[in-house]
């Protein structure tokens, strides 16, 4: 098979699915269909594939960007299943992506707080939003399953991933609940002031 032509000066890769697939290849070299199955398992409820064929499109892109490469000698037999592994460049890009994503998460939180503050003149409306936000957090908290205990998982990497995802979700909620409590008090004080002023 002809080597994929690398894209020069390509724009940053935006697709969350592409990054997630790269992550799976970094975790363990795999072939296309296997990746699709691992994707469904690892990212259930977080990301969705539009179809299995999308995995092959994504693998093409990742190869063009030199983030992954085909493992020599794996394209054999009547139905060849080429396996892919991450390149050093792919691992480095993935690490950078995680750092950028972290910044984006903080920015989104700040943006939400700023946009809520716009409702200072309509505190009851802001309280509605806060109430819904609180309910979403509670639903997320309750729906977060306890991760399997160490030693109960099929492999160490799967167990670690489950524990890290669970803890991240739970601690993210941990920071939001006191904020919701705080915001509720702020807007209640504003609402009380408005009622008194009438």
């Amino acid at each position: 098979m002809a080597e994929k032509r690398p894209k020069r000066n390509a724009s940053p890769m935006q697709s969350a699915v592409h990054w997630a697939l790269l992550g799976l290849v970094i975790e363990r070299p795999s072939y296309g269909y296997e990746l699709a199955q691992r994707f469904e398992h690892a990212y259930a409820g977080m990301l969705q594939l539009s179809g299995i064929s999308y995995v092959y499109t994504a693998l093409d892109t990742l190869q063009c960007r030199r983030m992954i490469e085909e493992i020599p000698g794996t394209r054999t037999g009547r139905q060849p299943k080429p396996r892919y592994r991450a390149t050093t460049e792919g691992v480095r890009s993935y690490q950078q992506r995680l750092i950028v994503q972290m910044r984006e998460d903080f920015r989104r939180s700040r943006l939400f707080a700023r946009q809520l503050a716009v409702l200072a003149q309509e505190p009851e409306m802001a309280l509605d939003v806060i109430e819904h936000y609180g309910q979403e957090c509670l639903a997320e908290a309750g729906d977060t399953p306890l991760p399997a205990l160490r030693g109960d998982c099929e492999d160490a990497a799967t167990g670690l991933a489950a524990r890290l995802v669970s803890e991240e979700r739970r601690l993210a909620i941990e920071s939001r609940l006191p904020w919701i409590d705080y915001a509720r008090r702020e807007f209640r004080a504003l609402a009380a002031g408005r009622i008194q002023a009438r």
Partner: protein, 232 residues
């Protein structure tokens, strides 16, 4: 029919009742259900548990356990269907962990042999059988919580109340305690836990308590109540 029902419960402290701790709290808990209430310090979460256990009487509203009004009984149902986990082990109640389970059973007239069996079973159920002969002071935080759970389990409760089950517990031991509470609920014991840490909400019907008001689903089969916006 709910196992526990709090209906428009209010509770105030202070000479003039100026400190409102619970404000019009309604909550229903079904058999085998795990409910966790998150709140900040001084939010009223411990008071909620004491009122739910019938230890404290509400100022307004009603608390019913299996249709019986708890308000007038002041802790009478403790040990009779309701298990309230206390993490303190008074030296006067025994030297070893198992003694702390035995003393309560003996005080209720359970014969010694049966009491010993029940105490051992409760310790095993809380996965702390190996600590039976230790002194409570020798237990680490997670073991002390399990011992407190075992002490409540010895009375075969249908409702278990536990205040902050994971406070002070090592991060890596925390989930095992939460898993124990969930498994007890799956075995049919309803659990009402308070927590100041959101991981304590995992797998439970999660609620929050803020300024004495309960937020979230007040009953398992009901949708969330979102207060209506006041009209301008």
């Amino acid at each position: 029919m709910s196992l526990l029902e709090l209906e428009h419960v209010g509770k105030c402290y202070g000479p003039l009742g100026e400190h409102v701790v619970l404000r019009d709290v309604s909550l229903q808990i079904e058999p085998g259900e795990m409910v966790a209430v998150w709140g900040m310090r001084r939010s009223g979460r411990s008071t909620l548990l004491r009122v739910a256990a019938g230890i404290e009487r509400p100022d307004t509203g009603a608390v019913r356990f299996e249709q019986h009004d708890l308000s007038a009984r002041e802790g009478e149902r403790l040990g009779d269907g309701i298990g309230y986990c206390r993490r303190t082990f008074a030296p006067s109640e025994g030297r070893r962990v198992v003694d702390h389970l035995l003393v309560g059973l003996l005080a209720r007239g359970v014969p010694l042999k049966l009491a010993a069996t029940r105490a051992r079973e409760a310790l095993e159920r809380a996965e702390i059988g190996h600590c039976a002969t230790l002194r409570p002071a020798e237990l680490d935080c997670a073991e002390a919580v399990r011992a407190a759970i075992a002490r409540a389990l010895a009375f075969a409760p249908r409702l278990l109340l536990i205040d902050e089950p994971t406070i002070g517990v090592d991060l890596l031991a925390r989930d095992a305690i939460l898993r124990l509470l969930l498994s007890l609920s799956q075995q049919g014991i309803a659990v009402l836990a308070s927590t100041g840490e959101s991981p304590g909400l995992s797998g439970a019907r999660a609620l929050t308590l803020s300024e004495g008001e309960l937020h979230g689903r007040p009953a398992r089969d009901l949708a969330t109540v979102v207060p209506l916006r006041q009209s301008a």
